[in-house]
């Protein structure tokens, strides 16, 4: 009760207590996360991938775009750890530079769907009535649509390319986050501190942003973590179909499809990007699983 009375008399006084509570929630979650083996493996894999992606330009790698026709389709060797592709480019370097593309696409696409879906869900859940019905029907229509087909259709309309891939993957996931946000908001809205805030006349936008949103965020973050893996798979799928990143970009999906032609002569051109996609997605799934258990107090007690 004291907490909800706070904001009207001295709005500033809420800030320190809220920060302290939040940081301890984050710290608890982090500890629980590192306690589980899957969480540790997931975090470790991701840290490696992120470091490689971020520091790719200063690593002693060959130029991912430099062609060497004389040395094309060479098997793995001391000079080219993962071999070379059909244009003699170093596959190791291309896979590491590819991590930059895939991680960015995955994270940005999920942010797009999280923000758009979050806004839709928050409005539907807080306003209710006609808003709720119309928005959710719209989301049903999008959900009633095979996601991969929708992504392909969006890219077909907007033209192939990395930016449109990002947009397509982001848009197709909006309904998931809209529904999730809405249902969390609906359950949080029933809680006493929201009623208390309403009764003392806190404006509804403030209730939405300061009271409901922070308490609804954890399931959304868990969904988002797993969603990054899915987004990476889908973006690479579009790249594989030739609708995503265009040559000569070192995108994993595109590398797979150009390597497929040489499956008889140079299977290593497939293995490296394939393994990279698998390990990245595995890392996000491990992290997502562990995060879900970590933020769920029921499972933390076990």
């Amino acid at each position: 009760m004291i907490k909800s009375v706070g904001p009207i008399s001295t709005p500033v006084s809420l800030a320190p207590s809220e920060t302290r509570r939040e940081s301890s929630l984050v710290r608890d979650t982090w500890h629980a996360l590192l306690k589980s083996p899957s969480g540790r493996v997931g975090v470790l894999l991701l840290v490696i991938f992120i470091l490689l992606a971020v520091f790719a330009p200063i690593l002693p790698l060959q130029d991912p775009l430099a062609q060497d026709i004389a040395g094309r389709l060479m098997p793995p060797s001391a000079r080219h750890w993962f071999g070379t592709d059909e244009l003699g480019r170093d596959i190791l370097s291309r896979v590491i530079y590819g991590a930059r593309i895939s991680l960015t696409v995955g994270i940005v696409a999920v942010l797009i769907s999280m923000v758009l879906g979050g806004i839709v869900g928050l409005i539907a859940g807080t306003k209710g009535g006609v808003f709720d019905r119309v928005l959710m029907r719209l989301m049903d229509i999008m959900m009633g649509f095979p996601s991969m087909l929708l992504a392909i259709a969006i890219v077909a309309v907007r033209g192939p390319g990395l930016f449109n891939t990002l947009l397509a993957i982001g848009v197709i996931r909006v309904p998931i986050y809209a529904r999730l946000t809405r249902s969390t908001v609906l359950s949080v809205r029933q809680l006493e501190y929201v009623t208390a805030a309403q009764s003392i006349g806190v404006p509804s936008r403030r209730i939405m942003l300061r009271h409901i949103l922070p308490n609804s965020i954890s399931p959304i973050i868990v969904q988002g973590t797993m969603g990054i893996g899915t987004a990476i798979v889908e973006a690479a799928a579009l790249g594989f179909l030739g609708l995503g990143a265009q040559p000569p970009e070192p995108e994993w999906g595109a590398m797979l499809s150009s390597g497929y032609i040489y499956i008889l002569r140079a299977p290593w051109a497939l293995f490296a990007p394939g393994a990279a996609i698998f390990l990245t997605v595995l890392a996000f799934n491990l992290l997502g699983d562990a995060l879900r258990d970590a933020v769920d107090p029921r499972s933390r007690h076990n």
Partner: protein, 334 residues
């Protein structure tokens, strides 16, 4: 029950209309003038305009939409721009290939996924459980196109025991009765063809089944564990029933509800993923057809097939719901 299904069918109508409007206007945003494509490279502006008015493409979009829907309700999906074959007819020819693949994949997924989930739940925290769940995690993390390429490399390129793609060998003769090659070869007692068809089916079906299988195993396990903690299961155990009997007669019936939902949803997912699998394995179904149509900007095919797959998706969720209600009478009272 009937009332429930009719109610759901009526509820579906606005969703289906929404999908059709979305698809129709979306497709018309795709760059490229279909009339110019049909007319070819050396067409005059007059001939393009001629074709456009013949196809009704010069009418306002809403008029075109209602015309299209009117024809669609009579079973006419238009014609392909490139081959001018009727789309509905080609759809019927290609559909069995996609269904055969999807059903085979789902069968494998169910036959392995459910028992794996049950065993995992019964022997919780055992090595078997850890192995199954690790397998399931890997299953959901390997994209089908990565697994598909590796499987083709291993079985078709290295071992040379399975073909890399297509539905049947070029030198095998099979009388086409139903379009389902497995069924056709059994009906005609063409065992030679049956072996060949199954060989072609193995890699695509196994690759396609991994994600649904992993998800089914996970859901079966967690749903059973939830049921195990309930009083009536404790009572059954307290009565001294054998563990097998407790699981099969008491826990499974309630524990299967979420599994059925997932199976239904995965069916839709498999169909929409057909674009990818069928492209990798040169499988002559609807997925590869859509992919080729997108690349050739054959928009009547893209439009018709997007609508069709959306329709199947919505229908499969309806069937799941109906089945669910039949199994769990409590849902009806909601």
């Amino acid at each position: 029950m009937l009332k429930f299904i009719i109610g759901r069918l009526i509820e579906m109508v606005p969703v289906l209309i929404g999908i059709s409007i979305l698809v129709f206007f979306f497709i018309h945003l795709i760059p490229g003038d279909p009339a110019a494509i049909i007319a070819g490279d050396f067409a005059t502006p007059e001939s393009i305009a001629d074709i456009r008015s013949n196809l009704g493409l010069d009418e306002p979009l809403p008029v075109q939409y209602f015309r299209y829907m009117g024809r669609l309700l009579r079973g006419d999906m238009g014609r392909s721009i490139h081959t001018s074959n009727p789309i509905a007819q080609e759809l019927l020819q290609r559909l069995p290939a996609s269904i055969e693949l999807a059903v085979s994949a789902m069968l494998i997924a169910i036959l392995i996924g459910i028992p794996a989930g049950i065993v995992s739940a019964m022997r919780r925290s055992s090595i078997l459980d850890t192995l199954t769940m690790t397998g399931a995690l890997i299953g959901v993390s390997v994209p089908i196109y990565v697994l598909g390429l590796v499987a083709v490399w291993f079985f078709a390129v290295q071992l040379r025991i399975l073909p890399p793609g297509s539905r049947i060998g070029p030198d095998i003769e099979l009388q086409n009765i139903t379009g389902f090659f497995v069924l056709d070869s059994i009906l005609t007692r063409n065992w030679n063809a049956l072996v060949d068809v199954l060989k072609h089916l193995v890699i695509p079906a196994v690759v396609l089944c991994t994600v649904p299988m992993a998800i089914i195993a996970r859901i079966t396990r967690s749903s059973l564990l939830e049921v195990f903690s309930q009083d009536y299961v404790r009572t059954a155990r307290g009565k001294g029933l054998s563990e097998t009997r407790v699981v099969i007669r008491h826990a499974l019936k309630n524990g299967m509800l979420p599994v059925i939902t997932i199976i239904g949803l995965q069916f839709g997912v498999i169909l929409s993923g057909a674009v990818l699998t069928e492209t990798i394995f040169s499988w002559p179904g609807i997925g590869r057809w859509v992919y080729e149509a997108i690349q050739k900007r054959d928009y009547p095919i893209v439009q018709g097939m997007t609508l069709f797959i959306g329709f199947v998706f919505v229908m499969s969720s309806l069937i799941v719901d109906a089945f669910y209600t039949w199994l769990d009478p409590r849902v009806r009272y909601d």
